[in-house]
Symmetry: C2
């Protein structure tokens, strides 16, 4: 499964072999969760599918939670939206990129699995929260750029606005169990644009 | 654990014994998930803790998914906001009620468990989605009432707005792993009020 984002965000310090192992392992995690759910995800099953040794996996991802968060981040990770001169245009670009990621096979089940894994006994507290904050960081940046530019209200509560933006597509996918589509993106851009825009 | 909502939404056809069993079982589910996570939740553990027979449980809740959705619904279920003459006031009342539910011990882990359970192999497709839609239904109603009253734009996309409202507190709790508080509620009321309001 092609995944340029994964290669960019996860490659090690210039070792092609390491990047290949990472890619194989995270693809195997996504495929196994998509096919059979989290309960079927074992270190043995991932190692077999990826064709890597278990020690190599444990060195990188000591727990199942580490593994599923890394897999989720290989599909839905940090992104950067260039300055388009307009907050709504930038928000649309961000949400369309997320929408495409969320619509990929297995991603819905993977995200549900990450959420469930974070609530299991022994899961590292904060690992999933930190991932969420990485995913949300670009929205904060777009809001700040909009305030500087003047098309976002200077008194906007950027923290809550970023929560609404991140929550919209994620909740549609995981809570309502429907794939986010372009109509949803346009409607979120309209609602958030009205909520935070400096023009009435 | 006192829970008036649970009694209202879950009682059977006037049999006090049945209501008592329901209450004991769902309280046991919440307590077990809060203490040890979903993997520790077995029919045996729930039956022992609630002091009920397993056949009585299986008749009502054939699967673990049925059990955790019923437990979640006993804590976060349908609610009704009376006509307060003002959309923002009604939205605030709805969100404050949800906020209180979300802040109760064990609810965060329970919701994460419900999401995880819905993605497991063999989980009934649609059961969690139907629960989500029940939780969201009052927001739709408030938006429609606001359109009739005139303080919500008649061209509002009520479906997306309801997603944003439901998503805000749920994502703060489950995604960002922070308890929703009154400051969040006020900020969501402000943002959604601007997004859907008929007054600029």
């Amino acid at each position: 499964m092609a995944d340029a984002q994964e290669q960019n965000t996860r490659r090690g310090p210039g070792r092609p072999r390491q990047a290949h192992v990472t890619r194989a392992v995270l693809d195997a995690v996504v495929a196994l969760v998509a096919e059979s759910g989290m309960n079927a995800l074992t270190m043995d099953a991932v190692a077999a599918r990826a064709g890597v040794s278990k020690p190599a996996m444990y060195r990188r991802w000591p727990t199942k939670q580490d593994l599923v968060i890394a897999a989720a981040e290989s599909r839905i990770g940090p992104l950067t939206v260039p300055d388009l001169g307009d907050f709504r245009a930038e928000l649309r670009a961000l949400l369309l990129s997320r929408m495409e990621s969320y619509r990929r096979p297995g991603v819905s089940r993977l995200l549900a699995g990450v959420i469930g894994a974070a609530a299991e006994a022994g899961a590292e507290p904060g690992a999933y929260r930190d991932y969420t904050l990485r995913v949300m960081s670009e929205t904060r940046h777009l809001l700040e750029r909009g305030v500087s530019r003047g098309d976002v209200r200077p008194d906007v509560d950027a923290e809550t606005a970023a929560t609404l933006v991140a929550a919209s597509l994620a909740f549609r996918l995981v809570g309502e169990q429907r794939l986010p589509d372009e109509a949803l993106v346009e409607s979120v851009v309209d609602l958030i644009g009205r909520a935070v825009g400096s023009r009435p």
